[in-house]
């Protein structure tokens, strides 16, 4: 179903065993219904969350949009359209596995099991937030599930290497997943990290979310290669590119990559051709965007929902229940956030040092 291109391993001289295991019979077999429902459920929860944050973000920025105003101030990068990446990768992770995300972190945080209520409180800048309101939406840290993110492009990758290193040094089979956008794949930190992870055979999975755009610059205008999987090959690791924003293809590729890392066989890279459904950040006029017209029809959630309905895995009643459960969970998180107090200004200098 999904177009998957694997980078030229043979040209780059790797043995077959370095490839992500591609067991064709397994790849053709449909995923179990319960797995598919879980993928769908996660995607719906993420979308429900992002829609709610979007609504809360804009609610009190009227009449004129003022980025610093309202109960959620500052830049806001939402991940609607990119749910398949998070939903497909994270089922293979345990709370003891690390995940580093970007300036667009909510979908990954949700799928990796970050405490939703405390994450929401952080986004609202409240004392009960993950970082007591110090960090904000680009700086979510939940050590319980080894989750972190950074607003500096590609700079979340190197720390993932260190987490992977620590896991191995301590004799665990935990892995680290490092996520970036395709724009970040042109940063030095990206290339340095791939090389070091491969050199030291670290248990890392690199995930590149190619949503076609780095703010206003489309991939073709920023990147000399059409596909990042050869960049994996150039660094002695397997790389795959998944077209179509296909959650099941992501799920399968991530299973192989995570298993490989856990087994001590080293890093690999998965690039997913995904979709930025909304602006780069809230308030982005997107006047530069040449693909706006087709955005809605490429929304991965209605498409997956149709697929599951047709396959008889999902029916209307359970779809409604999933939507209602997601809404209730998001309601609870927002309620928690709003009930949490603003940080006390007298503590503004806290937490600089341990």
């Amino acid at each position: 179903m999904a177009a998957i291109s694997q980078s030229g391993f043979s040209q780059s001289g790797f043995s077959q065993s370095d490839h992500p295991r591609s067991d064709d019979s397994e790849a053709d077999r449909p995923l179990e219904g319960s797995v598919r429902l879980d993928l769908y459920r996660t995607m719906v929860l993420i979308r429900t969350y992002e829609e709610r944050i979007r609504q809360e973000y804009h609610a009190d920025k009227t009449p004129g949009f003022d980025i610093g105003a309202g109960k959620i101030p500052g830049e806001m990068h939402l991940a609607a359209g990119q749910e398949p990446v998070a939903a497909g990768v994270c089922p293979h992770l345990r709370p003891s596995d690390a995940l580093t995300a970007t300036h667009r972190p909510h979908h990954l945080a949700i799928a990796h099991g970050v405490d939703l209520a405390r994450m929401t409180a952080e986004i609202f800048g409240r004392e009960g937030g993950l970082g007591h309101g110090r960090g904000g939406h680009m700086h979510l840290f939940d050590p319980a599930v080894h989750f972190s993110c950074s607003g500096i492009i590609a700079e979340g990758l190197p720390p993932a290497l260190g987490q992977a290193f620590a896991f191995r040094q301590r004799g665990t089979d935990s892995v680290a997943v490092a996520v970036t956008g395709e724009g970040a794949a042109n940063q030095g930190a990206f290339h340095e990290s791939l090389n070091l992870a491969a050199l030291w055979k670290l248990p890392v999975v690199f995930v590149v979310e190619d949503n076609d755009w780095g703010i206003s610059v489309d991939r073709g205008a920023s990147t000399a290669v059409a596909d990042n999987s050869p960049r994996a090959a150039a660094n002695a690791m397997p790389g795959v590119r998944i077209e179509d924003n296909d959650v099941e293809a992501v799920y399968r590729a991530a299973r192989q990559a995570v298993e490989r890392a856990r087994a001590g066989e080293g890093p690999s890279l998965i690039e997913v051709h995904t979709l930025r459904l909304w602006g780069h950040f809230e308030g982005d006029p997107q006047t530069y965007r040449s693909d706006l017209e087709t955005v809605e029809e490429r929304d991965p959630i209605p498409r997956y929902r149709r697929l599951l309905l047709e396959a008889g895995v999902l029916d209307e009643a359970s779809a409604e229940r999933i939507a209602a459960d997601a809404a209730a969970e998001v309601d609870r998180a927002v309620e928690f956030a709003l009930a949490s107090p603003e940080p006390d200004p007298a503590t503004a200098s806290a937490y600089v040092f341990a």
């Binding site: 101030p73 409240r126 724009g183 920023s222």
Partner: protein, 348 residues
């Protein structure tokens, strides 16, 4: 007080135009691109988007994609490219979207752009202008709200200019482009006059239409007063002026000195003003320790500590990263409230 050199022609002055700082900055860039074909602009989202903070609006349409270039997110590469092109006689303007991002490309800036002239014994010039957005106040968190001008100013080999008014934004841009040295040009997001950010009423200002230079290294007394000198830069200039207006009704006469350049620093202007008032408040949106505020105080102390009638006071970011939550951020930034109480403190 004149903050720009008067244009030569005195015939029938055109009606005053009021521009935002962003528009004035673009006007300065465009004037030089028009005049000098070796000037080009590169950076992230500076083309079709026109700069995230409107620093390049309309330049792509006017000068085309060969002179207004969107780069990949590869700051080390394009920062170094600017240096190399300058070495070959071009006059690049290179934008680092947020000053906070210097971390990913600092080597190209301080070990290359800033040192080549020195290392070559003066034989190689590096006329780059590095533009970058600075400042907080809108809850963008610890990685997108810093000023960091003290860091650039600390490292030798770069001039550092920081306009606070539209007129200076244009004049300093033109001077920076014409300068044969690397010039770091820092513009405060909150002073650009952006429609989507809270503005001060001072973000709009009169800008002469013709090209002119604002001298680099000359401070401007933007308000003269007898009682206390507030030395500051960037958006804090606007806040200091607001506070000065307010305190005037209480009979406190505040002088506001806009440094405009940190490198070179107009030390004479600082000493001259404090010599008259005897009281100094330094307002700095950068981190407090080892920075601009200490340098200003040291300037007076070194020349003549007896000029201080009372100990000087500084209003800066206590040495803490900029917090996200509004209440916390407003506590650490040099707000008008903090400036006001500092002035009252030196007044005793």
């Amino acid at each position: 007080m004149t903050v720009v050199e008067e244009p030569a022609s005195k015939a029938a002055p055109p009606p005053p135009r009021r521009l935002t700082m962003a528009k004035a900055m673009v006007e300065g860039i465009a004037a030089e691109m028009e005049r000098d074909p070796s000037v080009f602009y590169l950076g992230e989202d500076v083309g079709a988007y026109g700069g995230i903070f409107s620093s390049t609006t309309g330049l792509l349409e006017r000068f085309g994609p060969e002179r207004v270039l969107d780069t990949p997110i590869s700051e080390t590469a394009f920062m170094g490219l600017a240096t190399g092109a300058a070495v070959e006689g071009m006059r690049p303007i290179v934008e680092l979207m947020f000053a906070d991002f210097f971390g990913v490309c600092m080597d190209q800036i301080y070990n290359h752009m800033a040192k080549i002239h020195f290392e070559s014994g003066g034989n190689v010039k590096v006329p780059v202008v590095l533009t970058s957005a600075v400042g907080g106040g809108y809850s963008d968190g610890a990685q997108h709200s810093q000023c960091l001008w003290g860091t650039f100013a600390h490292l030798p080999g770069m001039k550092v200019v920081i306009p606070s008014t539209p007129a200076d934004a244009k004049g300093l841009m033109i001077s920076a482009i014409r300068d044969d040295n690397p010039v770091i040009y820092l513009f405060h997001k909150g002073a650009m006059g952006l429609a989507w950010m809270t503005k001060t009423r001072r973000a709009l200002g009169e800008v002469p239409p013709e090209p002119y230079e604002t001298p680099i290294g000359k401070a401007a007394v933007v308000r003269s007063g007898r009682d206390v000198t507030v030395v500051t830069v960037s958006l804090s200039v606007h806040y200091a002026l607001d506070v000065a207006d307010e305190l005037a009704t209480d009979g406190i006469d505040v002088e506001v000195l806009d440094l405009r350049s940190l490198v070179p620093l107009d030390r004479d202007a600082i000493v001259e003003s404090v010599g008259r008032t005897g009281r100094l408040v330094v307002v700095d949106e950068d981190y407090q320790s080892f920075g601009m505020s200490a340098e200003v105080m040291a300037t007076v102390a070194e020349r003549d500590p007896s000029l201080f009638a009372v100990p000087p006071v500084r209003v800066a970011v206590p040495d803490v990263p900029i917090p996200y939550a509004r209440a916390l951020e407003q506590t650490v930034l040099p707000t008008p409230e903090r400036i006001r109480s500092a002035v009252r403190q030196v007044m005793g």
